[in-house]
Symmetry: C2
Subunit: 218 residues, 2 copies
């Protein structure tokens, strides 16, 4: 395939190189400097070249959009029409300081609960796993690798207590940070529900978070 | 520990039973019927009992809140003060029909992009994995199990094309459904970023989605 990459940052650079080394023709575009594009093309090999976003979009079977959200409108204007193109977006709609999603996602149920239940030490946990998998995972608790279970909260001691419950239930507890991370954990629970109930394979859906080394070694 | 469970649905029932069978004293509460509570106590064994939400909250070291979001205010009113309690919430803030989060999360960058890039066949992919893991995962692509990589979009043919790119990059493609699922995938990307960059172990963070059987067998 011909793949046009718009955005030459870390994601666009790595993916474009990988696509080129997988046998696709890759055209890089939209870097801050021509040097960066030259370097990417050298690294990616014979099937890579660079050009303008309009060339990346115009000649491609697939367009990879890998720009910062703040540059989206500019990148689209330079690319021209994308009608009928397959556009793969790996953009996350972040603010300029990369700290928050600018498209919704600014509250969580767990934080709302903490505001209602004055003084309670709220820990968000167990919402990312379908109820159907709880008993089977508990039965399988001596087997490895265990599924992960993510939790968050603002007080270390309460979180440590909850982590023992998660471990006893047969999961590896994964501390994701403060209670505000529930803004991401709750939508992740929705993603899990989609995969558990909306797709083949049945509701015993689990996930495992790992560093690459330990996943492929396990 | 003494664990008070508020909410006797599928999550509260399964978790309370597991906690009781892990050696904790569990008090179930807040069911639609007394029969349901009786049944849970019988299943959970000698360390389980039932009572009111106020009893569940008042006597507990840890309170598990497992009610539908629509019942949260009622459950909290019945529970009384939770000050200084460890409160584990597995609630997801859903509307009455369980189809949408009612706390934010009603848009996505991918949908916003599709609205801007008229006619483009937008597929959301590759945003859930840190850039640092792309090259190592590509190098490890013959090893198993592979990390997962979730994607979504509204057109099957475009998605199939993108799935081949994901597979060639060394990941197992996971089709999460239509483009609106980006509302959940983008926050999941933020959760992954939190775990990749905010915690020990380095940025080569990956995830694997699986059915329980295949995870523990793999």
């Amino acid at each position: 395939m011909r793949i046009g990459v718009i955005g030459a940052g870390r994601m666009g650079g790595a993916l474009g190189t990988i696509f080129a080394q997988s046998g696709h023709k890759v055209l890089f575009s939209y870097a801050r400097s021509r040097d960066k594009l030259d370097r990417l093309v050298r690294e990616a090999g014979a099937d890579a070249s660079w050009g303008t976003p309009a060339e990346a979009a115009g000649t491609a079977d697939v367009v990879l959009l890998a720009v910062h959200w703040a540059r989206l409108d500019d990148a689209l204007a330079q690319a021209g029409s994308l009608a009928d193109k397959i556009v793969v977006t790996c953009c996350v709609p972040l603010n300029e300081s990369d700290t928050e999603l600018v498209v919704a996602h600014r509250q969580s149920g767990a934080e709302a609960l903490a505001a209602k239940a004055s003084g309670a030490r709220v820990v968000a946990a167990f919402q990312t796993t379908p109820s159907e998998v709880l008993r089977p995972a508990f039965k399988a608790r001596e087997r490895h690798p265990r599924p992960s279970l993510v939790y968050c909260g603002d007080e270390m001691k309460s979180k440590a207590t909850v982590a023992t419950l998660i471990a006893a239930a047969g999961f590896d507890p994964v501390d994701a940070g403060g209670l505000r991370i529930a803004r991401y954990i709750e939508p992740f629970a929705m993603l899990g529900a989609e995969l558990a109930y909306g797709h083949a394979g049945g509701p015993e859906w689990v996930y495992r978070f790992a560093r690459l080394d330990s996943l492929v070694a396990g």
